[in-house]
Subunit: 132 residues, 2 copies
Amino acid sequence: MSTPDQSPAFIDDATLLPAIVQDAATGQVLMLAYMNREAYAETLRTGKAVFFSRSKGRLWRKGEESGNEQLVRQLLLDCDRDTILLRVEQLGGAACHQGYASCFFRQVTPTGLEIIAEKVFDPVAVYGREGH
Amino acid sequence: MSTPDQSPAFIDDATLLPAIVQDAATGQVLMLAYMNREAYAETLRTGKAVFFSRSKGRLWRKGEESGNEQLVRQLLLDCDRDTILLRVEQLGGAACHQGYASCFFRQVTPTGLEIIAEKVFDPVAVYGREGH
């Protein structure tokens, strides 16, 4: 089945496309995850970010464990329709399972990675373990 | 060879990791491209964004044809070190080969894709052809 020109360029049901998540209010890039056709369709239908987790091997409704759901305020496609950009309202103030607002909490410096953010929540308290 | 914990999680020289490019001044997400180990190393060394182009099958020095280079102001890694975020100064005011500031110039709406930006340059004048 061909992909309509109005949709992301999923070749088939197994295609994964990167989805960038940006805070709609602040412009901060929060995370990147992947969507298959089913995750994209559910995201459109529910207005909440749904991804395909490569590690879990199944749909991942963002916030299903932490409660930190992402409410989609705007959805954009790039010129090749092979990347999705979600502009969201991040519930709970943190996207990262390590407790930071953004997964991009480390800057590359000449001497290594430097943490440039403060934790918003304690991952152990939320998930019962760290870095799951 | 194992990947040092301070570097992106390239498994080998063929690994491609997504790199998000964000305008450092405005926060606008400009594009997504891919880096291999070599592209990442050259980006670090030169301070200009270099990607691995999957369509060209070679390193792609952003702006090599258009002159619209990206000067890297900040480089971040995500929690899994498998996504790179470049915060850049975009020369020429446009990242997209179709002439828009951002590749994400189309919004998904209930009736299809809607262009939400104005072109910054004419792709035919810059590249001699459209949508290359």
